[in-house]
Structure formats: structure tokens, C-alpha cells
């Protein structure tokens, strides 16, 4: 994180860095040491709250079974993390890797396609005037307030009519729809894609669709990355839809797979180790994606909240 160029937030205020460098000493003294100490203690305590569970997971995943209960739970014993990972991956012909791959396909593919179509729709709602535009936008906005879990059961009933339950598509297709993405894309497009630019592209003879993909998309990148990221997380975390749709273990996303293992721990105790290691491995991809894309999504986020 620190290797990245200064966060846009700090940069945005422009005056801030210079200002905070020069008069920092006097201002720092003006804030009472008590307040500074208090702030630090609050943040320190909550840092422990947020990070200790993950630390525990890392430590627990690195122990072999006999040490799990007998050694200090918050510190390493013999470091057998990689051996454990090897066992996890080998268990039942690598079904865990299959789950990770499924999650990556559901979330990566779904978020990528979903972002493009939400971006196009939001762009059209922002940049073109046509009858029914406000109606469409309001219906989509209503869709933001309809929770995805409420749709899981009717989707299951519909998919079972056409024998599509327990298939890849039964989880993938519904994940493509992101009303919130349309909302964010519209707000951002109307604010950051100048009409003059589209007009100029028209004069150059570029078609509307081509203008969108070559010119406008570039201006919308922060919003689109935000939409992608949040849809990715939403699909990656989605539980109800796969729970209700899928029976075949090889189609499970990693969350559902780990859930299934965790509910069998009492019958098959060895699964407890695999659940913990699997849990640790499954959160690493998301952390990496967030770190890599953070300079984009933080901008897009503020655009959405300004309204």
C-alpha cells in the first residue's frame, strides 16, 4: 500500500499536504495531547478487534492437528502451513481447488460482464434523452432496494421449470444484474463525461457505441472499477442463491463448500482443519484485489455517496 503513489484522497485536497507540512508543529500542539492519545488508544484497541481473528486463523491454519489444542492459540508452533495446504488441496481429488475456481468464475466473470452492461445502461440513462428514461431509472432504483436474497427462491422455482437448477448458469446468470451498478454508472457518467466530448467524437464520425467504448469508458473508469469490485464481492459472498440452486458439489463456490464441510465437522473431525485452512486461503484473493484496485474504487465510492 505504501508503495503506491499518494492516495488520491490526500492529493485531491491539494493544499492539504503542503499545509500540513509547514504549520504542522503549531497545529499539532494545539490539539491537546489528551485528545491525540485518546484517538490513538481507540484506534489501537479496534485494530486488535479487527485483526486478531484473522491472525488467529493464520496461526491455527499453520498448526498440525495435535498442536491445535495444546499450544498457544495466538502464536505459531511447528510451522506446517504449507503441508496443511498440500493436504487440503489433495483431499477428495482437489475439490477445494475446484471450489476456488468456481468462485473465481462466478465472481470474476459475473462482475466483468455485469459491469459492462450496467455501465452501458447507466451511460445511456445519463447521456441520452428518450421517453421512459426516468421510468427505467426509477424501476432500477427500486431494484436496488429489493434484496437479492428475496429473489433466490422464485429464481429457483423458475429455473426448476426449465430444468436449469444445479447448473453453472443457475448461479452465474442472475449474478450479472447489478441495479446499484447502473445507479452509480449513471451518476458518474452524467458528472464526468462531458457532452462536448461526445459531440466531438460524433463530428469525427465515430458511431455512438464506438464512442462509448473508446472515449467515454475511459472517463468512467473509477466508477466502473467500483462497480466491478462491489459486484465481485457480492457474488463471491453470495450464499443463498448457490445454497438453494446447487446440489452437485463440483459446482459449489468456495463459501458454500466450506459451509458444507463445516456442518459435517462432528461426523468427520478432520474437516475442521480443512475448514480453517480453506477459510484462510479463500480470503486472500479478495484482499489482494482490494489492495491492487484501491486507488480506483475509493474515488468511485465518493462519487456515489455525494449523490
Amino acid at each position: 500500500m505504501s508503495t503506491m503513489s499518494p492516495a488520491p484522497a490526500e492529493q485531491k485536497r491539494g493544499i492539504r499536504p503542503a499545509q500540513s507540512k509547514m504549520p504542522q508543529a503549531p497545529r499539532a500542539q494545539r490539539e491537546s495531547p489528551l485528545a491525540r492519545g485518546g484517538a490513538l488508544i481507540v484506534m489501537g484497541v479496534f485494530t486488535l478487534y479487527f485483526l486478531v481473528p484473522i491472525w488467529w486463523l493464520l496461526v491455527a491454519a499453520s498448526k498440525n492437528r495435535s498442536q491445535f489444542n495444546t499450544t498457544n492459540p495466538l502464536w505459531f508452533a511447528d510451522f506446517s502451513l504449507f503441508e496443511n495446504i498440500g493436504n487440503l488441496v489433495a483431499y477428495r481429488d482437489g475439490v477445494y481447488l475446484k471450489w476456488l475456481l468456481n468462485s473465481a468464475l462466478y465472481a470474476g466473470g459475473g462482475a466483468a460482464i455485469g459491469t459492462i452492461i450496467a455501465g452501458m445502461c447507466g451511460y445511456a440513462l445519463a447521456k441520452y434523452r428518450f421517453p421512459g428514461r426516468e421510468l427505467i431509472f426509477n424501476v432500477v432504483l427500486g431494484g436496488v432496494l429489493v434484496p437479492a436474497t428475496a429473489l433466490a427462491l422464485p429464481l429457483f422455482l423458475i429455473f426448476s421449470q426449465i430444468s436449469l437448477t444445479n447448473t453453472f448458469w443457475s448461479v452465474f446468470l442472475p449474478s450479472l444484474v447489478s441495479p446499484f451498478g447502473v445507479y452509480l454508472a449513471r451518476i458518474y457518467a452524467s458528472a464526468s463525461v462531458p457532452d462536448e466530448l461526445i459531440e466531438a467524437a460524433r463530428l469525427d464520425g465515430a458511431g455512438e457505441v464506438r464512442t462509448f467504448f473508446t472515449v467515454s469508458v475511459r472517463m468512467m473508469v473509477p466508477a466502473l472499477v467500483t462497480v466491478f469490485l462491489f459486484q465481485f464481492v457480492a457474488i463471491w459472498n453470495n450464499f443463498f442463491l448457490p445454497l438453494i440452486m446447487l446440489r452437485d458439489e463440483t459446482l459449489f463456490p468456495v463459501t458454500l463448500g466450506l459451509y458444507a464441510w463445516n456442518s459435517q465437522v462432528n461426523q468427520i473431525p478432520v474437516l475442521r482443519d480443512y475448514v480453517l485452512i480453506g477459510a484462510l486461503l479463500s480470503i486472500i484473493p479478495l484482499i489482494i484485489i482490494f489492495l491492487l484496485l484501491q486507488r480506483f474504487w475509493r474515488n468511485g465510492l465518493s462519487a456515489g455517496s455525494v449523490k
Partner: protein
């Protein structure tokens, strides 16, 4: 790097731009719709999918909820026939369902203010000159958001358990998985995951406030607390409302965490939350009743978040 920053400034300019768009709208009636093909190409992909996977399921749920199963004698073939509001009468007579609604409402009344209060506090601290190492804290607090609800629940399930927990000194004496406490143990899991996310939304809104707005107050000798209370919080109200609405929706939809906790605690029943009721009713299977549950729940969610939105908007207007 500078490109996103520049476009963000535009975004802010765009927020205060009603006059420009009004000018454009007044011109609109004279202009006929151009680029119909392009508009269709942009809108249809989303429109079709939205129709298929949002509108049709909603309609289908309502349709299913109006049917009842009729059997010819005890062992005869079952057929679905129109039953009017029969299923809804069953929903309203269903004690466990309303108990579960009451449970998540209680959960929301306690958990949402705590979570958003913490998020606001952290965001204000990150935005104040009181703190150093802001980037570290911002990141550390956000990391739990990368943990899916199911995984977080599994993890905390172990942390709560009397014999496996690293804090067994505490968990041996307080049973976090007991019938009295398990709801609040789940509330802690949800808080743990979402505080950082809400903090970032609020923090982004804080960063969008021009410094000049409170520079004057500072020169007048206002302390950080005063500035936060009288200048910053009123300005970021829209962001707070947004996080509150999403939190309310999330609360009513609770499913993954309690479902996981069923394997840790027998106190979490199959009707612990409304969505668990939907799930267990549909696995009986009684799809018509489950559909009616779904419709009532979606309606309740919609009404609650919509009312909250209108209520806060009116309050802001005053």
C-alpha cells in the same frame, strides 16, 4: 493517478448542477429522439437481464404465493389451484415467522446504530489531525470486509466455542452460543465485517468536503469535536443515510451467518431469521407458502428502507 482525481472534481461539480440540466431539459421537447439504435444497444442487455432475473421472479413469487395445493383424496395427485390470499393468511398466523421478524428488528435497532456509530467515529478520526498512521488504520479496519459472511461466521464460531477458542478463559465462563446471547454474538460478526466498509463510505464523503468550510471554524477556535458535530456530520448526512439503508436491508435479509451458527449452537432454530424460515419452508417443500414469506419479507424490506429514506429526506429539508 491524476485522471481519477480530476474526474472526481468533476463529479462534485456535477452534484451542484441543476441549472445546467434544467436548461437542457427545456430544449428537449423540440428535439426528437436521436440515436435510437445506440440507446437500445446500451439499455437492452441490462434491461433484458433485469427483466428476466428481477421482474419475472418477483412476478412469479407473487403468482406462486396465490396458489394452493389441492389433492384428490389423501393419496391422489397434487395440483396447484388458485387460492386467493390463503397463503397470506397462513403467513399472518405463523407465529415463528413473526417472531423471526421481531428478532431481526431487535437486532437491527441495536446493531445498526452501533456499527454506524463506530464507522462514523473512525471516519471522523481518520479525517481529523489527531491521528497518525491513517493509511494503516484505514486498511486494517477494512480487511474484514474481504471475509465473506460465511467464512467470518465459521471463524467467530470457533472463537466463541468454549473449548477451541483462544480466549477460553472468557468463553468458558460466558456462553456466547447460548439462547440468550447467540443473537448478539451474530451481531458482533456482522459488525466485525461491515464497520470498515461503512467507515470508508463515510470517510470518502468527508474527503469530499472542501477544507475551507471548516478552516474558518478552526480559526475561530472551534475544537475538533465541535467541527465534527456542527460542520462535518451535517454535510455527510447523505452518505450516512445511504449506509443506514443498506444496513437495514442487510439486517432483514440475515441468512448466511445464522445458518452457519446452526452447526455451532442448537439455539439457532430453522426459523431464527425470516430468510431461514423461507429456506426451511421451501425445503419441506412448501413452495407456495415459502413464496408468500418471500413476498411479505421483500415488501417489508422495501417499505422499511423507503420510509427511512423519505423520513430522513424530510428531516434534512427542514
Amino acid at each position: 493517478m491524476s485522471a481519477p482525481a480530476a474526474s472526481l472534481t468533476d463529479a462534485r461539480g456535477g452534484a451542484a448542477r441543476p441549472s445546467k440540466s434544467r436548461a437542457r431539459r427545456s430544449r428537449a421537447p423540440k428535439v426528437r429522439v436521436h440515436h435510437t439504435g445506440a440507446i437500445l444497444a446500451f439499455v437492452l442487455p441490462f434491461g433484458i437481464l433485469f427483466g428476466l432475473f428481477y421482474l419475472v421472479p418477483i412476478g412469479y413469487a407473487i403468482y406462486e404465493s396465490l396458489l394452493v395445493i389441492k389433492r384428490e383424496g389423501t393419496f391422489g395427485a397434487a395440483t396447484e389451484v388458485f387460492g386467493g390470499f390463503t397463503q397470506y393468511f397462513l403467513v399472518f398466523q405463523n407465529g415463528p415467522f413473526w417472531q423471526s421478524i421481531g428478532r431481526v428488528l431487535m437486532f437491527g435497532v441495536v446493531q445498526v446504530p452501533i456499527m454506524l456509530g463506530l464507522a462514523l467515529l473512525f471516519a471522523l478520526l481518520l479525517d481529523s489531525p489527531l491521528l497518525r498512521g491513517k493509511r494503516f488504520f484505514r486498511l486494517a479496519f477494512f480487511v474484514p470486509y474481504a471475509v465473506p459472511g460465511v467464512i467470518a461466521a465459521i471463524m467467530w464460531g470457533y472463537l466463541y466455542s468454549p473449548n477451541l477458542s483462544p480466549f477460553s478463559a472468557v468463553t468458558e465462563n460466558i456462553n456466547f452460543l447460548s439462547a440468550d446471547l447467540v443473537l448478539w454474538s451474530i451481531a458482533n460478526v456482522v459488525t466485525w465485517v461491515y464497520v470498515g466498509y461503512n467507515m470508508l463510505i463515510i470517510y470518502s464523503a468527508l474527503l469530499a468536503i472542501p477544507t475551507e468550510l471548516y478552516e474558518a471554524a478552526r480559526l475561530d477556535g472551534a475544537g475538533q469535536l465541535r467541527i465534527a458535530w456542527s460542520v462535518k456530520i451535517p454535510l455527510i448526512m447523505p452518505a450516512i443515510v445511504l449506509t443506514a439503508i443498506f444496513s437495514i436491508i442487510g439486517t432483514l435479509q440475515l441468512l448466511a451467518e445464522p445458518q452457519v451458527f446452526r452447526s455451532f449452537s442448537s439455539a439457532v432454530t430453522s426459523t431464527f431469521t425470516p430468510n431461514l424460515t423461507v429456506y426451511s419452508t421451501s425445503s419441506i417443500p412448501n413452495f407456495n407458502l415459502a413464496a408468500a414469506f418471500s413476498v411479505v419479507l421483500a415488501l417489508a424490506t422495501f417499505i422499511l428502507s423507503f420510509t427511512f429514506l423519505k423520513f430522513t429526506q424530510r428531516k434534512e429539508a427542514q
